[in-house]
């Protein structure tokens, strides 16, 4: 502006003045002058080398024009083109009908364009980085909270000192605490990259230290050798490492609890049939599978008939799964297991046969491939707690598992059926003498174990592949849980499942998933040597009975 303002001071002829003014943009071209407006700058984007383009991008960012973020975003995504015919800068959009173009400045629809009539304005990696940071800075003032948060994060990642002004402006205007923290953190990274006074840098280090995650670590690490603030940075890095490890432990505990809840769901039905009745049900895994397929069938029916019910699909599937798996369980007990009481090895073989039949039946009906079971909306997505991610599906499964466990305890301890069941398992002749229909209790007990397997199937359908082999992948693990926990004790299954789940997840980072699992199996094999009847085994004379 200075030049223009100065001009009238000179006694130039008017014509010359006019010419000069008209030529001004041309004169300023090589230096991409500050005075150029947003429209002009955009028009210049297609020209020149990458470094020219870099200057233009910076200039666009500096205009603060509300349209800038969109244009730069299009440039970053590669949808900012130049029309060959007239050099007009357009944003193209691929739709079902073909490629259409919009004016980059006005947003005016320009209709369909042929593939070759426009040319993409190219960017390289350096420009992409620049664009991200520029877009971030531009979005800092966005009215949308999420956009501002995202912007602060992307500015944080760039660490570009050029953004400090924008950050300061945004900070002073920000009222949301979380966004303000994110902005302050982004500013701290940028400050570290300037030659700001030591005091200010120390404050920045403190801010990042308080953030305490991997990103903060990455932002601090390059400054560890800085003579002025090196000590603070090193201390902060150590502290962050400690915090991160703590969160890592917490995350592992969570994974372990989650795995434990899955194991418990799969094993708890087994704890009843194996533990309480002494029956080895090798088809238990297939009953879990039936529960999962019931969920699939329910969802299919809902999709066809009443899509608005989808969020309720699991609640509808759960009782049905209990009925299906429980019914099959009772059929197994009445048809086969009942004839084999007192012969555990034969029971094992016969139920294995049933498991093969169930597997093949499901394969024949539903096909051999994985079936898609959807998550209701309340089960998708995740929750951030500090530095730890908790998916809703796993959280609900944990809650579900605990509820099932509690309900089961209640049934066994408080209900009349539970009383009869304990009477039959502890002294069959006496129970029969007292008028309890022992056969009916056997069938119901087995059905209860099977029904819980069905419930487990509903839960597992949310996190695992639903295929005919679903049951097979859980059967060894569930037996391990029951053997480890000690048969005949629900609390044993509880402790066994969560103990093994957590141990497994703590081993995994060191050994990998497969080796971790092998180590757990080896551990159980060794453990059972020490305590052949598990963690919570009954001791003493009761065992001999």
């Amino acid at each position: 502006m200075k030049i223009v303002l100065a001009l009238p001071l000179r006694p130039f002829p008017a014509a010359l003045l006019t010419a000069l003014v008209l030529m001004l943009p041309a004169l300023m071209l090589p230096s991409a002058g500050r005075a150029a407006g947003f429209e002009e700058l955009v028009a210049r984007l297609p020209e020149g080398s990458y470094s020219d383009r870099a200057e233009v991008i910076e200039a666009i960012a500096r205009t603060g024009d509300p349209r800038a973020a969109e244009v730069l975003g299009a440039l970053l995504e590669g949808s900012l083109h130049v029309r060959k015919a007239d050099g007009r800068v357009v944003i193209i959009e691929k739709t079902d009908a073909g490629t259409v173009a919009f004016d980059a400045l006005t947003g005016e629809a320009l209709g369909a364009v042929a593939g070759r009539s426009t040319e993409k304005i190219k960017v390289n990696n350096r420009l992409r980085g620049m664009l991200r940071s520029a877009i971030g800075a531009l979005s800092l003032m966005s009215p949308d909270r999420e956009t501002r948060l995202m912007a602060a994060q992307s500015v944080f990642a760039s660490g570009d000192p050029a953004n400090i002004e924008a950050l300061d402006a945004a900070l002073s205007a920000e009222s949301d605490r979380e966004v303000a923290t994110a902005l302050a953190e982004a500013r701290a990274v940028a400050i570290l990259n300037t030659d700001a006074p030591v005091e200010e840098k120390r404050a920045a280090v403190a801010i990042l230290r308080a953030r305490g995650d991997a990103a903060a670590q990455a932002a601090l690490a390059p400054h560890a050798s800085d003579p002025a603030i090196g000590n603070e940075v090193t201390a902060a890095l150590a502290e962050i490492e400690r915090v991160r490890q703590m969160w890592g432990v917490a995350q592992n505990v969570w994974y372990g609890l989650s795995l434990g809840s899955v194991l418990m769901l799969a094993a708890i039905g087994l704890a009843i049939t194996f533990g309480v009745m002494g029956v080895i049900n090798m088809a238990h895994g297939e009953l879990v599978m039936l529960g999962a397929y019931t969920t699939f069938a329910v969802q299919e029916a809902i999709r066809g008939a009443a899509p608005w019910l989808f969020d309720w699909s699991l609640l509808i599937a759960a009782p049905l799964a209990v009925l299906v798996a429980g019914g099959v369980g009772i059929a197994i007990e009445r048809g086969i297991v009942r004839h084999l009481y007192g012969r555990p090895l034969e029971t094992l073989l016969a139920t294995w046969g049933v498991s093969l039949i169930l597997q093949q039946a499901v394969r024949t009906i539903f096909g051999p491939n994985n079936r898609e079971v959807g998550n209701p909306s309340w089960m998708s997505g995740s929750l951030e707690i500090g530095q730890m991610t908790v998916t809703w599906s796993r959280l609900w499964i944990l809650i579900f598992a605990l509820c099932v466990f509690a309900a089961l305890l209640l049934v066994l301890r408080r209900s009349f059926f539970g009383l009869q069941m304990r009477a039959v398992t502890q002294n069959r002749p006496m129970a029969a003498e007292m008028g309890i229909d022992t056969g009916r209790i056997d069938a119901l007990t087995f059905g209860l174990g099977a029904g819980i397997a069905g419930l487990a199937g509903v839960a597992l359908s949310q996190i695992d592949n639903v295929s005919p082999n679903l049951g097979q992948s859980y059967i060894v693990d569930s037996f391990m849980v029951v053997v480890f926990g000690g048969a005949g004790n629900l609390w044993g299954a509880f402790a066994g499942a969560f103990g093994l789940g957590i141990v497994n997840k703590f081993l995994e980072p060191w050994t990998g998933a497969v080796l971790g699992k092998i180590l757990v199996l080896v551990f159980i094999i060794l453990f059972i040597q020490k305590r052949p009847r598990g963690l919570f085994a009954l001791r003493g004379r009761a065992v001999e009975a």
Binding site: T347, L349, G353, V354, L356, Q529
Partner: protein
């Protein structure tokens, strides 16, 4: 003491001998290939299964050790043989490395892992075929039996054992070819594996091994030690109070049984041309149990017959109606446990005994 070769055993061995002579002759060019040549290897495979079943019966039928992990011993024997066969390929592999098997070249390994050393010699591989399963059974059994883990608990941890091994062998890092296992074998002892003569040789070797396995098992069970085994099976506590170190006896039988299973695996691999971690799957091991249960637990000969019957049925059914096979196998498990607790052979003998009620001395009766 009972005779080593009783009538049942005699009939079976004679039939086996006839089969061993007749099948190669019938499939030879001289006889105009009366039966297709592939039958030789197919039946050879059945004989290996039969030996495996005899091994399991030795432990389960006579000592009450129901192993649900015998497939692991079979597979380990198979892998030991497979390693020898891999080393025999030499520079003829796809990558042409003179020492390293193809899968190691593919994984960019520079040198042979230590546990592959020595497998280029047949005698060493043959020793390992027996030593590796034997050692595993010994160590595993030592832990398990010493702590008096028995019955269903033992079954479950043997299943966990084979499951753990399966997971381990699926890993490439283990150095046994991962998923794909070991395959593309060329020759054995310098003989071309595709040649009819080699296949016949392997078939005869399998028959001899089966006969030897039966005789060894019979010798053990008919000896005075056999009585102790039965005592342990039927009344473990009593045997202990009579002063028998039960765990030593179990360990002995379990180890012998594992070695036998290893030999079966070693003969199986060159005849089918591949060994992969699938052999360790728990399902395979349980299938062995149904062979024995079908034939008749504690009869040895019945176990061998049961294995061959089920294997034959599997070949036929998976050929005709693959969908039906698992239904049939599953149904078999249920039917045998419910209605044939002593197996086909036991049922036959019961039938005969009813025809001739005067006979006494049915010594190997097995309680269900």
């Amino acid at each position: 003491m009972a005779r080593l070769v009783d009538r049942r055993m005699g009939v079976f061995l004679a039939a086996l001998f006839v089969l061993t002579v007749a099948l190669p002759v019938a499939s030879s060019a001289a006889a105009g290939e009366l039966v297709p040549a592939y039958l030789v290897s197919l039946v050879g495979k059945y004989l290996c299964y039969a030996l495996l079943a005899v091994a399991l019966d030795l432990g389960w039928g006579f000592c009450g050790i129901l192993s649900l992990g015998h497939g692991a011993f079979f597979a380990l024997g198979g892998y030991a043989m497979g390693m020898y066969l891999m080393r025999q390929i030499g520079p003829r592999g796809v990558y042409g490395d003179p020492v390293l098997p193809d899968f190691m070249v593919f994984l960019n390994w520079q040198e042979l892992p230590w546990f592959w050393l020595g497998f280029d010699r047949f005698w060493f591989a043959a020793l390992m075929v027996m030593a590796v399963p034997g050692l595993l059974a010994f160590v595993f059994g030592w832990f398990a039996f010493r702590s008096r883990v028995s019955g269903v608990y033992l079954s479950i941890i043997t299943q966990a054992m084979t499951y753990a091994l399966m997971l381990a062998f699926f890993r490439n890092e283990m150095g046994f070819g991962g998923n794909n296992g070991l395959t593309d074998f060329k020759d054995i002892l310098g003989l071309d594996l595709t040649a009819a003569s080699t296949r016949t040789g392997l078939f005869v070797a399998s028959a001899v091994a089966l006969a030897a396995g039966l005789l060894v098992a019979r010798w053990i069970t008919a000896s005075r030690l056999g009585r102790v085994l039965v005592a342990i099976r039927d009344a473990e506590e009593r045997a202990r109070f009579l002063g028998y170190r039960v765990e030593h006896y179990k360990l002995f039988v379990f180890t012998v049984s594992a070695v036998m299973a290893g030999v079966a695996g070693a003969l199986y691999v060159p005849q089918v041309g591949i060994i992969n971690p699938g052999e360790f799957s728990p399902a395979n091991s349980i299938e062995i149990v149904i062979w024995v249960a079908l034939g008749g637990r504690g009869t040895l000969v019945g176990a061998a017959l049961g294995a061959m019957l089920v294997a034959l049925a599997k070949t036929l059914l998976t050929g005709w109606l693959p969908e039906l096979w698992l239904f049939a196998l599953g149904g078999l498990f249920v039917l045998v446990t419910l209605w044939l607790p002593r197996g086909v052979l036991g049922a036959l003998e019961d039938g005969l005994a009813q025809l001739r009620p005067a006979r006494t001395g049915a010594r190997e009766e097995v309680r269900a």
